[in-house]
Symmetry: C2
Subunit: 354 residues, 2 copies
């Protein structure tokens, strides 16, 4: 059994403590400067207030000031921060990592390099590590449908672990797998991360339908919703993910698998991204919607903004044609350029032709 | 503008009257022997009781006895019956069809030929036509996410029309397309029909999760559902659809497109197939569930039974290996062999690896 240190006591980082503890590992959950009250509750009452559950038996909580101590002897380090904290996490962990340790990240997001190439968050994290260990620490990531509260409730959860380093990947899968948490290994880290990010953007797209229904006066006298439109937006999302995976040299097949179709399915069930999509679909500008959702981390909007910079680069090298990806272009217009939500349905139909 | 005759005044057949009427066609909605009260209401009050809407302006309703008259001068004939009525519809329409007419079917289902090869319903329909016209009448079908009540409510709806005859396909798309109904043409009729059928079977699979949640005592104190499991079953469904499309020589890409992922998304939102899946997942046998749902047409169960006969043929010719398609095999066990619902989660994880 190993020592596993998790930096970040948010929902997903903390939820991983449950299968790890059940597997018999010593789990050390370290708060960031934002997690003070969570860590305090975990330490004084062994109760995680955000997950609303008792801490699992083999887990203990550490305040941020004790990160050094928490990393002592750890063979696996989990980056459990959100997308805004990735650079910070890399700088915090970097000087403290030792050869032989393996890093795995739960964060979903995407950045654009200055040349418009997509930069997946594990690479962002790697870029913050000191040069001496930058290339020697294996970095893996988790993708796929996983509501943290369900994982902490020991509900059946199936995810993908991506890492190009086969030995590190095998070590991670073995360390995390329980009879209710099923990490499925893939070498295609970039494909997995693209899905994890893009499915957030497309959740925004699916959410537009609920807002358009509101704008049209809601359910009519014969109870017609706009599920047909939502389903078309869902399918356009998976179809565009396949197109983007292909354009970026990754496996298009991921589009119908766990990290794309599967994760889009559960993410589109509800949550803040759907809420943002609904606000935009109902006619609110992005600025208005953002102020209504003040205080929420809107990862999907950041991903769309990254895609606004990536798309021209893909077009410039001929990987994507001008009429392609109508839903992504609509989202870019709404979120990155502040345009009113509007869908060109004929263009959407052409996108759906594949 | 043309005359379009629809046989079957069920939800989907009738809903097609709305875009057709809005396009200016003369629409004749003909009831089957089961549609007496519907046709009576349409004729006396111009109100469709099942759709709960006024009949569209250019549509008129005909009792079954007046089918001959209703077919006079029609250039497009719609088979709007359910899967149990396909053979009957073929025999009813067959002797009355004339060269130059085009047939389009809304029915979703699947049969198995005696040798275990899949038989899509347009081919079943074709088999019932008189030999003289059997090969000369183009037969098309509609697939993709479309809740009939929304289409009749003139909500945005995107579907696929499949037909190997390019001229007939173009004629149909032009005839039906409005600014809210978007038929997307594909030559791959068999691929489309497989998706339309299989997505029903896999909706049963997604529905199991809700039943398993009930069997586990429901939502827990921290409100954990089993959405992660539902999402994994969704992804396994789309992944298995891709595998089956490939094994049957069709385009695997359809799995992430409108007729598979898109239609599975909307079908899994609710309805009788989800209800059946939930009953099975909660521990009821198929016989018990069927008696609870007495009177409902359980197309998904018939499709699973057809797949129970198709699977051995696929294995026999080496197109599918023995460990593949774990979700379909579980459904076959439950529905066709009366086994209790149970999922081998490790096997499911191997399926999700693709």
């Amino acid at each position: 059994m190993s020592i596993v240190t998790i930096l970040g006591a948010g929902l997903m980082g903390s939820a991983l403590a449950y299968p790890l503890s059940d597997k018999g590992h010593e789990v050390r959950l370290v708060g960031t400067h934002l997690d003070g009250p969570t860590i305090e509750s975990c330490r004084s009452r062994r109760f995680h207030p955000r997950l609303r559950r008792e801490l699992p038996p083999n887990a203990s909580a550490f305040p941020h000031a004790r990160l050094d101590e928490a990393l002592e002897g750890a063979s696996i380090v989990v980056s459990g921060v959100n997308s805004l904290g990735v650079h910070w996490a890399g700088r915090e962990l970097g000087p403290r990592l030792r050869a032989g340790q393996v890093l795995i990240a739960v964060t979903k997001g995407l950045e654009a390099a200055p040349d418009g190439e997509p930069l997946i968050l594990p690479e962002v994290l790697r870029g913050e590590l000191p040069p001496a260990i930058r290339e020697s620490i294996p970095i893996a990531a988790i993708g796929g449908p996983c509501i943290a509260g369900e994982l902490a409730g020991r509900r059946q959860s199936f995810v993908m672990f991506g890492c190009p380093d086969a030995a590190a990947l095998e070590l991670l899968v073995r360390a995390f797998a329980t009879d209710y948490y099923h990490p499925i290994p893939t070498a295609d880290l970039a494909g997995l991360e693209l899905c994890a990010a893009l499915k957030n953007a497309y959740t925004l797209g699916v959410g537009l339908a609920a807002g358009m229904l509101e704008a049209a006066g809601g359910v009519d006298g014969a109870e017609a919703h706009m599920h047909n439109l939502a389903a078309a937006l869902f399918a356009e999302g998976t179809t565009e993910m396949a197109r983007l995976l292909g354009a970026l040299g990754r496996r298009r097949e991921l589009a119908y698998m766990l990290p794309a179709a599967g994760d889009l399915y559960v993410t589109a069930m509800g949550g803040r991204t759907v809420k943002l999509g609904r606000l935009l679909g109902s006619g609110k500008s992005f600025a208005e919607a953002r102020s209504i959702l003040e205080g929420e981390t809107l990862e999907a909007a950041e991903i769309v903004k990254a895609m606004a910079r990536i798309l021209p680069a893909l077009e410039a090298r001929g990987a994507v044609g001008p009429g392609e990806l109508p839903l992504l272009r609509a989202l870019v217009g709404i979120v990155a350029r502040g345009e009113p939500a509007g869908l060109d349905f004929a263009r959407l139909a052409r996108g759906l032709a594949g």
